[in-house]
Subunit: 223 residues, 3 copies
Amino acid sequence: MVHDLFTPSIQHTLDLVGIFVFAISGSLLAVRKNLDVFGIVVLAEATALGGGILRDIVIGAVPPAAFTDLGYFLTPLIAAVLVFFLHPQVERINWAVNVFDAAGLGLFCVTGTTKAYSYGLGLTSSAALGVATAVGGGVLRDVIANEVPSLVRWDRDLYAVPAMAGATLVALCIRFSTLNAVTSGTAVVAAFVLRLLAMHFHWRAPRSWNRRTATVEVEQHVE
Amino acid sequence: MVHDLFTPSIQHTLDLVGIFVFAISGSLLAVRKNLDVFGIVVLAEATALGGGILRDIVIGAVPPAAFTDLGYFLTPLIAAVLVFFLHPQVERINWAVNVFDAAGLGLFCVTGTTKAYSYGLGLTSSAALGVATAVGGGVLRDVIANEVPSLVRWDRDLYAVPAMAGATLVALCIRFSTLNAVTSGTAVVAAFVLRLLAMHFHWRAPRSWNRRTATVEVEQHVE
Amino acid sequence: MVHDLFTPSIQHTLDLVGIFVFAISGSLLAVRKNLDVFGIVVLAEATALGGGILRDIVIGAVPPAAFTDLGYFLTPLIAAVLVFFLHPQVERINWAVNVFDAAGLGLFCVTGTTKAYSYGLGLTSSAALGVATAVGGGVLRDVIANEVPSLVRWDRDLYAVPAMAGATLVALCIRFSTLNAVTSGTAVVAAFVLRLLAMHFHWRAPRSWNRRTATVEVEQHVE
């Protein structure tokens, strides 16, 4: 079965790690937006669980895992409490948070694609839903915080491409019947490393062609 | 069966009252945001039904009750029409709207928890989904209106805590097999009174510790 | 069966046309908001598929058609690529985009209502869900782009009314057992023409009564 890539306990531990780091990123945004402790908890839960809940509802796996596994619900709470009390210290290790977030991104795009395929979706749809699982929580976080999602802003380092690379690798492995713990682990690492490189070299996605001619005056004031 | 707390007709009437007052709060925000009549209707429906639709989709109770019971759909329309024609008068009784909204909050956190449990969720998850049912409509209202959700703003009176208290009481009653019309009614009243007290005494939730040292200059300009 | 209004291939072609034009409108907003190429793709997919995915989740038709039919997923990608490379040219034919968007609106309100009814919803709920299918993608587009949804702004031409007219016509046809390719085609055309007229004559929806007395000073500064 394709959704047992690792032993259940390893898979579960990796899930919780991904959920934890996504929750840290949600909590930090809540503090920066000057929200209260419930804002921290809401953004922690939404960022960590939003992508997975969306995936499970789309594939019909209800109630979503986030509501049947208590650990999925409690882990973001721990992250929120940590950020609540130790905010300056967490900010100071922001690079570490970014590294963990990259790990979560790699993990979620792979498990999202695999779970979607195991529920009968086609390969392309599975990869698309895997990407949505990985980036969905972050979009929900930014929508609730009333910000333009970091995912779609041109002045942010590539975030979707690493997830797309990881999800595509998994889909190819499924297509050629070579999906196992090693190949899916490779896909996780590929997405993880791609995201680290994008952050290190500030790789960015292009905006539409011929846009500058039309908006050059506006941009002079904005930038 | 845990989801028959009251006689069906009483339960249904209470649901409609909660839906109505939530719809009033959505309609009022639409008028304040200068939206047109469809904005009033959209925010009325979203505020009143959003939490329940989310709950029903998560637990797999589709189509959601909001789409099978015509009264659930029509009640927000009546609230929207009332606010459309009588906006200044409704604003003038804003304290009454707040009292009814508190009643809706108490009712929805209890019925949400109970319904989630009756669909097989665990106690903690049921309570969490009960809180989400109670506050979800308000978050959706604020997201559509392009505002930071009132739920997560530090300068608003406590809203989540009363819902959490009510949902927790219900979960405890289920745990000790004492859930009936009296105990669940007590949970509704507890959440209701807590919310009234929070409004009266302007109880607010704290923001993260050590935040001030970092943001004191910014706040001087903002506040 | 009510959901086979046209031959499957005609129905499918019409769906793809509607999806394509909605995706163009999402892509154009992404360019105007200065988003990168992923922003263009995300808004294209969200605008084109959001309404249908919401409808399918509500009626329990999971996985939604958007995830089982590859054409539904790829069509918005084509629209996004077109806008990415040919943005000024697409802007220049904006009137054509608006005409196609009106066609998508007419089509989606009719197919949404029909599909909801075929999954067992009542007539009123089916019509309401049909309207939500037609306008839902646009609301999701605006929420992700961090704008007040165009649907609810008083300074935009009527958008909901044509969809409501089309959905109501379909519901009446179902009620009187006269729904067929001709009558549902008529409903599509009625909604389409109504939307064109609303754009041509700048029909707008009223805001709440007695609003001006309260907000006149504010508006003098805003407008």
